[in-house]
């Protein structure tokens, strides 16, 4: 069989790839332009090396503080998700207890409900606890998730039965089996869930926007939105902020993309 030609695919994919990355390149270029340069007609496609936009955006909003907030929230939410989801997933996949099927169905039903239905009562809970404008308000609801439980359960289900049986004969209790034997074996699942959670937590906008209105307590997403209100069409400043805000997750993705993409493909095949 002759090798199929690949150049037509390259032509189309390259054209598409340019459309995908042009806005990113353009954003970085404008983040290094002066304000008048950024408003020129026709557009100026080269940077004017205005590095001062970056310190300027840090002076105008507590961007450094928001960066730290976002890191703390993302780390806490991801760690919480991994622990709580894997515990529940292990129980659903490997232990037998009355009501298991029914409880799992309730978990699954939660996946169908749009997030907006949770927001008002959660806001009232946070208000009642005096947690408005705190990082706990962003972390507490985030560590619980039916999706992660469902995802990890699929991984636990693939492990052979003999594993628990052998461990039980050796006198291990379920907690030990979960922690010492099973958890290391579902590492790919934990990695996929972890990366997805980092991505969602880092980027989420609606809930942080509602619950933390004090700029000092905002995450980067909400911070960018408030920056928009402050600077309107000062795009060099807005883009300097955007670059700082989005770069960490882009960098993480470039290093961990195989695991993230495998995780997403997996959700598709099991959905």
């Amino acid at each position: 069989m002759s090798r199929p030609r690949t150049w037509p695919a390259h032509v189309i994919l390259t054209a598409g790839a340019l459309v995908m990355i042009a806005p990113f390149v353009w954003q970085v270029v404008v983040s290094l332009q002066t304000l008048p340069d950024s408003l020129r007609v026709p557009p100026k496609f080269t940077p004017s090396w205005e590095w001062s936009n970056f310190p300027e955006v840090f002076r105008s909003v507590p961007l450094a503080r928001q960066f730290v907030n976002t890191v703390l929230v993302t780390v806490a939410v991801t760690a919480g998700q991994l622990l709580l989801c894997s515990m529940a997933a292990f129980a659903f996949a490997r232990l037998r207890f009355p009501g298991r099927g029914a409880i799992f169905m309730v978990f699954l039903a939660m996946l169908m409900v749009p997030g907006e239905l949770f927001i008002i009562p959660r806001y009232e809970i946070m208000q009642g606890l005096g947690w408005l404008n705190t990082l706990q308000a962003l972390i507490a609801p985030g560590v619980f998730g039916a999706f992660g439980t469902f995802l990890l359960r699929q991984f636990f289900l693939t492990l052979p039965k003999e594993l628990d049986e052998a461990a039980r004969l050796d006198g291990a209790n379920p907690l030990q089996i979960y922690w010492h034997i099973m958890l290391p074996l579902v590492r790919p699942g934990l990695l996929a869930l972890g990366l997805l959670t980092v991505m969602w937590s880092w980027s989420s906008l609606l809930w942080p926007l509602i619950v933390n209105t004090d700029p000092e307590m905002m995450t980067l997403s909400a911070g960018l939105a408030s920056l928009r209100g402050q600077f309107q069409t000062n795009f060099p400043i807005l883009f300097a902020g955007s670059v700082v805000a989005s770069l960490p997750v882009i960098a993480l993705f470039v290093f961990m993309q195989r695991q993230l993409i495998a995780g997403i493909a997996f959700t598709g095949s099991k959905g």
Binding site: F24, P98, M112, I120, N173, W202, A225, F235, G268, S269
Partner: protein, 292 residues
């Protein structure tokens, strides 16, 4: 005896998650349903108003506008799904070099925070100095004021919606494509079928389970669009009338105007819309999805 201890461990291990889901998911659902039948007072608290919120919404121009905008947005974004199929099919061409480089580039918008994406495209779509109207001008087209024009705003947002989800959907399609046995293609080329014919006769039909999944997920996400609208359209812009979505209206009513009961009713309508449209999708799938 052993199995009784297994019960206890089972309950202990699901307890934290079950408790959290009860507090932050189950109870809020019940509470939102309840609130949708109430009106919030100026000094907090709420009074029962029956179905008044829902009848108000039915006659409310903003709500009907938001419903229309949201459905139009969902249709536009769904129309972009074939782009992802084409990208995935091209990435799956045997012997293609640099596949993972392409995949990375197409995936970049997926991992970028929507707030940053929204700001970037607001600039690109600017009517006066935006790059898109500049390029259209080169082609002799006088571009509209996109994000400032109620007739064009939702199209601009949908273009960004498609652009930022192509990579995600292409990854799902690629996984689907890789599940199609190579022998089918080998048999088809021995019968003299060209690559285009193979694509329509083998690839598309065998990909339908993935296509169905992508369509349902894309639709559900599109019906909940908020971030892009919030970042691309100014809060005081007249374009908002042509681009205000259901979740945007929920946000405005609930947390700008503090009409929590009405906002709860909007959320309930959204739930109903999603459930009905998803059920329709599942009914329709029998007609076009091939399961082996």
């Amino acid at each position: 005896m052993l199995s009784k201890r297994e019960w206890v461990w089972g309950y202990l291990l699901i307890a934290p998650m079950a408790l959290g889901l009860a507090v932050f998911y189950l109870w809020p659902i019940a509470q939102t349903l309840y609130l949708s039948f109430t009106e919030s007072g100026v000094f907090g608290g709420h009074t029962w108003v029956g179905t008044a919120n829902f009848t108000d919404l039915l006659g409310d121009e903003e709500m009907l506008g938001a419903l229309g905008n949201t459905v139009l947005y969902a249709v536009l974004v769904l129309a972009g799904v074939p782009v992802a199929i084409v990208v995935a099919a091209l990435l799956n061409v045997p012997g293609l070099r640099g596949m993972s480089v392409y995949r990375t580039l197409y995936f970049l918008p997926v991992v970028t925070m929507p707030a940053a994406i929204g700001l970037t495209w607001r600039y690109l779509f600017n009517g006066d100095f935006g790059a898109i109207n500049y390029l259209l001008g080169k082609l002799g087209i006088d571009g509209p004021y996109w994000v400032g024009d109620p007739d064009f705003a939702i199209y601009a947002i949908a273009i960004v919606g498609v652009w930022s989800s192509v990579g995600y959907n292409a990854v799902l399609f690629l996984a689907g494509l890789q599940g199609i046995p190579r022998q089918y293609y080998e048999a088809a080329s021995m019968d003299g079928a060209g690559r285009l014919r193979q694509f329509f006769r083998i690839t598309l039909p065998l990909l339908t389970p993935t296509t169905f999944f992508v369509i349902v997920i894309t639709m559900i996400n599109a019906l909940q669009v908020f971030d892009l609208v919030y970042l691309m359209i100014d809060t005081t812009s007249p374009a908002l009338n042509g681009s205000r979505t259901i979740v945007y209206l929920f946000f405005e009513k609930g947390f700008v105007q503090n009409q929590r009961g009405l906002a709860a009713a909007i959320a309930v309508v959204l739930l109903g819309l999603i459930l009905v449209l998803t059920a329709v999708q599942f009914r329709l799938q029998k007609r076009w999805v091939h399961y082996e």
